[in-house]
């Protein structure tokens, strides 16, 4: 009986392989992986834009117009989150149509051209390139900096400050549409409470009338972005409703310190700039509990920017964690166009 030699099944690894071949296969694997990532990102964009179209339609339907005895019309949103009394504002009948249409604006889907613009800006070849320069604020955004708007990334101060500048310009462009707001940059609170605690002197020159063109006390709302360790939160001085508000997308339990610092700042600011003494003891101090909350460890900066965006529009906070991928894309688009919509 002849012995049959065992034939081993030949695997790919048995093939004699040249070094160039391994290089090619590893390159192919890398290419496939990056293509998969890109397709996943594209699908995410498409899915979010579809859900946003639905959301915008829902939002405009949810606006009910209620006639009052004094012939004024009050806007009611289906979910009155935000400031305790719903943050509704009274408008004339001519403005009603504009406001109902306006509700869809925070969720305007990006078109294909805009998505392509963002994808191109976030690509690796643009890392070292300065993508946009904002003259007024002196902020340059490179491809590297813009990477913080990719999913799962922590928001960076340059992007935050530029976006706040764009919100300022948006308000100047169309003052009827938005509250009169002042947007402090991310360095303000750092200086106000740095080192030995509260120090008004460190920021007293930041808000001269010559520099701003208006007095801080004349603003409806003053936004104070706050950075604590690795977390973004928001302080709001609401002059219209005479209250200090603190918004935190997670609960970090430092609200009272921040609210007190803002109250103290307002008193000192008015005293120095207008030579008036204002009593804020009757003003409300509010930690907003009914607010959209983050469900991860990287979206707090985006939540902070959207709290500002929605409040400056006079809208209640009608967004959630699932809107964040869209908001990141939209913010990237607005920064690249140097125009907040």
């Amino acid at each position: 009986m002849a012995l049959v030699p065992k034939i081993r099944n030949r695997t790919i690894s048995d093939k004699p392989v040249s070094s160039s071949c391994t290089r090619t296969s590893s390159f192919r694997q890398r290419l496939l992986a990056s293509c998969k990532r890109f397709l996943r990102f594209k699908l995410l964009v498409r899915a979010s834009s579809v859900s946003l179209k639905k959301k915008a339609a829902r939002c405009s339907q949810s606006q009910q117009v209620v006639k009052h005895n004094d012939d004024r019309i009050e806007e009611h949103s289906s979910s009155n989150r935000g400031f305790k009394d719903g943050n509704n504002f009274l408008v004339s009948s001519t403005e009603t149509k504009k406001l109902v249409a306006f509700c869809g604006e925070p969720f305007q889907p990006l078109n294909e051209e805009e998505v392509a613009l963002v994808n191109s800006a976030l690509s690796k070849r643009n890392r070292k390139k300065i993508l946009v320069s904002h003259k007024n604020s002196n902020i340059d955004i490179s491809g590297e900096t813009l990477q913080c708007l990719r999913p799962n990334q922590w928001l960076n101060d340059d992007v935050t400050n530029l976006y706040l500048e764009l919100l300022k310009e948006r308000q100047t462009r169309d003052p009827q549409k938005y509250f009169k707001c002042h947007f402090f940059n991310t360095f303000f609170y750092v200086k106000l409470v740095s080192g030995s605690g509260y120090n008004y002197k460190a920021v007293s020159r930041w808000t001269t009338k010559r520099k701003l063109g208006y007095d801080l006390i004349d603003c409806d709302i003053i936004f104070v972005p706050i950075h604590i360790d690795i977390h973004w939160t928001l302080g709001v001085i609401n002059n219209r409703e005479r209250k200090f508000v603190y918004l935190d997308s997670l609960f970090t339990g430092v609200g009272h310190t921040i609210l007190n610092a803002m109250a103290k700042y307002l008193v000192d600011e008015v005293k120095q700039k207008s030579q008036k003494n204002i009593d804020v003891s009757s003003w409300g101090m509010e930690y907003v509990e009914e607010r959209p909350q983050q469900q991860n460890g990287y979206d707090c900066g985006m939540f902070m920017l959207k709290y500002i965006d929605f409040y400056s529009r006079g809208l209640s906070l009608q967004f959630s964690q699932k809107d964040m991928p869209y908001f990141r894309l939209r913010t990237a688009k607005e920064i690249l166009r140097l125009r907040a919509d």
Binding site: S137, W154, N156, F187, V203, H231
Partner: protein, 108 residues
């Protein structure tokens, strides 16, 4: 804590920022204060690029230049700006702030 004054020579001078009332050889002493309140004094030409001051500060304090921000009167200073352009005066204070970033210490 105030350190001894460092003098920065103005080898890079911005022609654009020269104004008739300030000669190119005039110097101004500026304070750089960090978040802990520590101060350093620097003497710099009114028409010298502030990058010289900023990089000197980073070298002295052993900091990464790309991860710090220098703020004057609420505005971030850029490398090619000069004290004259920013109307800086004697003993004016520049704030040094570390780059801020965050996502939230989330615990489900």
């Amino acid at each position: 804590m105030v350190s001894s004054t460092d003098t920065i020579s103005a080898s890079f001078v911005s022609k654009k920022s020269r104004s008739p009332e300030t000669s190119p050889h005039m110097k101004v002493t500026l304070k750089v204060k960090n978040q802990q309140g520590a101060e350093d004094l620097y003497k710099i030409g009114t028409h010298a690029h502030l990058k010289k001051l900023m990089s000197a500060y980073c070298t002295k304090r052993n900091l990464d230049y790309s991860s710090v921000r220098f703020v004057y009167n609420g505005r971030e200073i850029k490398a090619r700006q000069t004290p004259a352009q920013l109307h800086m005066e004697e003993e004016d204070e520049i704030c040094m702030v570390m780059e801020l970033g965050g996502g939230g210490p989330y615990t489900p």
